[in-house]
Amino acid sequence: MRRSVAIRLALFIIATLASLVYLAPTFLGGRLPEWWGNFLPTDKIHLGLDLQGGSHLILEVKVDKAVENNIERVKGDITNILRERGISGVSVDRVQGTQIQLKIPAASVERVQGVLKGDFPSLAVLNTQTSGGTTEIFLSLNKEEMRSLRDYAVDQSLETIRNRIDQFGVSEPVIQREGQTDILVQLPGIQDPQRAKEIIGKTALLEFKLVDDSANVEEALRNGPPPGDEILYGYGGRGEGGAAGEKVPYVLQSRTLMTGEYIADARVRPSQQLQGPYVELILNSSGARLFEQITAANVKRRLAIVLDNRVYSAPVIQERISGGRASITGSFDIKEARDLAIILRAGALPAPVEIIEERSVGPSLGSDSIRQGVISFVVGISLVVVFMIIYYKGAGVLADVALIFHILFLLAILAAFKAVLTLPGIAGIVLIAGMAVDANVLINERIREELRAGRAPRSAVEAGYEHALPAIIDTNVTTFLSGLILFQFGTGPIKGFAVTLCIGILTTVVTAVYMTRIYYDYRMGVRRLTRISI
């Protein structure tokens, strides 16, 4: 018996020392000696966003839009190939968002079908109808293509968002996929969530389109744009004419000459004369070539620079532009220009994203929450500690000591496993402290019963532990199970509560049952246990 006491005591001392080592960074912080970091843990207990402040966002990627864009591109490809092969009289249209409708004269049906089979394996034929000499074929992307396209849209969005956040400069952001179409973004400690959201949420689809000078703007506004054209708006301001903030309509050719995918770099340039700062784009080599062709072919025409369907500027092309540099001017201040450069550098999102959940907490609320949590922790535990001493005297003191070790172990495990402490998590620590002494209550009550039944102290203690144990295990298993379910279901802060609940239950059983037992076994080993204070 004596040896086993020594071994168990040694185990607890090791566990206690290890706990202190794990908790030292949290409580001592910068006061640790320099050699500490070389071979000892330096992770502090991780605070959740609700305690340290920050933003939690869930973004939904509009994957259907990505499919539509793709179909639009395929439509263009089909038209081009048919023209190349000299098949004429075929009309190609996008219908119902994600379908392509072909109207083919009877003579060309077979050739068109050959082209579709040979060059467009990713398309599936939904329906074929023939009436009065024309055959209509409805096409859509096949299932596999559709799935990989949606997947790609979400993955690519995630990468782009990660790039943007990295450039924005947030320490320890969390960016991960959630479910089929959602992306979770956590930005701890950011001061300006609004700006972060704008940077993350912008699609940033940059397009170069020609202004249709032949069209009359007023007439287009009244009767709709001529075929092949569209109306987009710019916002007047410095340099562009019109009062600041006023909407300026443009009639543009719908065809996109070039997109932002050729951008190699984007930089903010200081203001020239009266204009605000502008963003200079540096194109990669193939982009530079394409841009040179476009500008050469359209000298003296106006080229509109469109970002997310908003016209930033539409300068007249004075001459052929080589060297792959273009600039976006507009009425923005230095901060807006810098954000725009970040977004353009990081690339466009393959599909628009929408914020479907936002939880932002300011840093001052977080520190208030911590203070309130600590106060209720101290008060709650003091009540329990005092009650146990009054009610169980010596055995109560023993339970209180176990309670303090339970808290030590619980915090140390949270630090060691890099678990996140949230406000509900703190509430969980307080609550668990109230439950931790339950095992001691069950043991002590049983010992009292055995004493009343006339047993000697020694056998009363032994019987007390033995008979109380099954109920202790059962009660803790049930609470643990509900903690697991909560962990499965919960999000963010609630998960923090579930984690502290589950870990806390494990540590209470260890300290309340096995640790207190060492004390009794020690006393029984040294001399006969004749009196116990309970």
Binding site: I58, P193, Q194, E198, G201, E354, I355, I356, E357, E358, S360, V361, G362, S364, L365, D368, S369, Q372, I375, S376, G380, I381, L383, V384, F387, M388, I390, Y391, L423, P424, A427, V430, L431, G434, M435, V437, D438, V441, R448, E449, P470, A471, D474, T475, T478, T479, F480, L481, S482, G483, I485, L486, Q488, F489, G490, P493, I494, F497, A498, L501
Partner: protein
């Protein structure tokens, strides 16, 4: 010190008809209330936005409403939050036409125009889209139901089927009573409430486990007693444990309720109600269910025979 003197024998099972009758009425009322009016859903479940504001000087609720301008509709709820004189308010905006991400900026603009920059602080914004809310609501309800069933199965596995049934009925009672109390106190249902309900399910069953454990032990010892007498004896013998274990939890919950701040208060309130209810339901609901199940099946004598054969 002793709370319950040993040898005490309160005939709890005698009052079971009154208790079961009363509890059935209460539970039915909660159910009617729940389905007729529906619980007061927080943004987690209903969607919408909640904003916590703190001002550096005294402001009135109508002033805030004016400052919000078009953001505030007739459905917007503005209420005091936090301690007295802390000038903190909680603004609940129903599903607005404004996109989730841009709401903060609009709020800031409106408040700055009315109160001046630096006079207020937007401490917290939580916005949840309607789709997310619906998903969370269903998952939350299912997790509570699943946990309740799981407790029943565990007790069935560890003890007997009738004990498991008793525990499940008692847990349903506790959850319903807590939901009713939350509705009466006008607390909103959100994710922390689901966390509280799950904790209640996991913890309230503990008292039932302790009593069942004693019933099983007493059945072995006193075979000639009727089941009712054994149950009654067991409840009395374990009464001090039941009260003290829950009592220490209630002590820390009172500290959390009073000092833990506005976010934790509804959570602590739910747990307080649920834990009190847990003690009551163990004594007055779980035990009668065990008795009823037994009486419905066989007479008392046969029970003891089957019991002794099992050993």
């Amino acid at each position: 010190m002793e709370l319950i003197k040993p040898g005490m024998n309160i005939p709890f099972t005698k009052y079971r008809h009154i208790a079961v009758g009363l509890s059935t009425v209460v539970n039915l009322l909660v159910l009617v209330f729940l389905f007729a009016k529906g619980p007061n859903l927080g943004v987690d479940f209903a969607g919408g936005t909640v904003v916590q504001l703190k001002f550096s000087q005294k402001v009135s609720i109508p002033e805030i409403r004016t400052a919000l301008g078009s953001l505030a509709t007739s459905e917007t709820v503005i209420q005091d939050f936090g301690q007295q004189d802390s000038n903190e308010f909680l603004v609940r905006l129903e599903k607005t036409a404004v996109e989730i991400g841009s709401l903060g900026e609009q709020l800031r603009t409106g408040l700055t125009r009315h109160f001046g920059a630096g006079r207020f602080e937007i401490r917290r914004i939580e916005s949840v889209g309607p789709k997310v809310g619906k998903e969370l609501r269903q998952q939350g309800a299912w997790s509570v139901i699943a946990a309740t069933i799981m407790m029943g199965v565990y007790i069935w596995f560890r003890f007997q089927l009738r004990f498991g049934l008793g525990a499940v009925v008692a847990l349903i009672h506790d959850v319903l009573v807590t939901i009713g109390a939350l509705m009466l106190a006008h607390y909103e249902f959100d994710l922390t409430i689901i966390a509280a309900l799950l904790t209640i399910v996991g913890y309230s069953v503990n008292d039932t486990v302790i009593v069942c454990d004693r019933i099983r032990e007493n059945m072995r010892k006193a075979r000639r007693e009727s089941l009712e007498a054994i149950i009654n004896m067991s409840i009395n013998e374990t009464l001090s444990r039941t009260i003290i274990t829950t009592g220490t939890a209630i002590m820390v919950l009172i500290a959390l309720f009073l000092l833990g701040g506005g976010v934790i208060r509804p959570f602590a309130f739910a747990l307080l109600v649920g834990f009190f209810s847990g003690v009551y339901s163990t004594i007055f609901i779980a035990s009668p269910v065990i008795l009823l199940w037994e009486k419905g099946r066989t007479s008392g004598a046969q029970v003891q025979k089957t019991e002794s054969r099992r050993k």
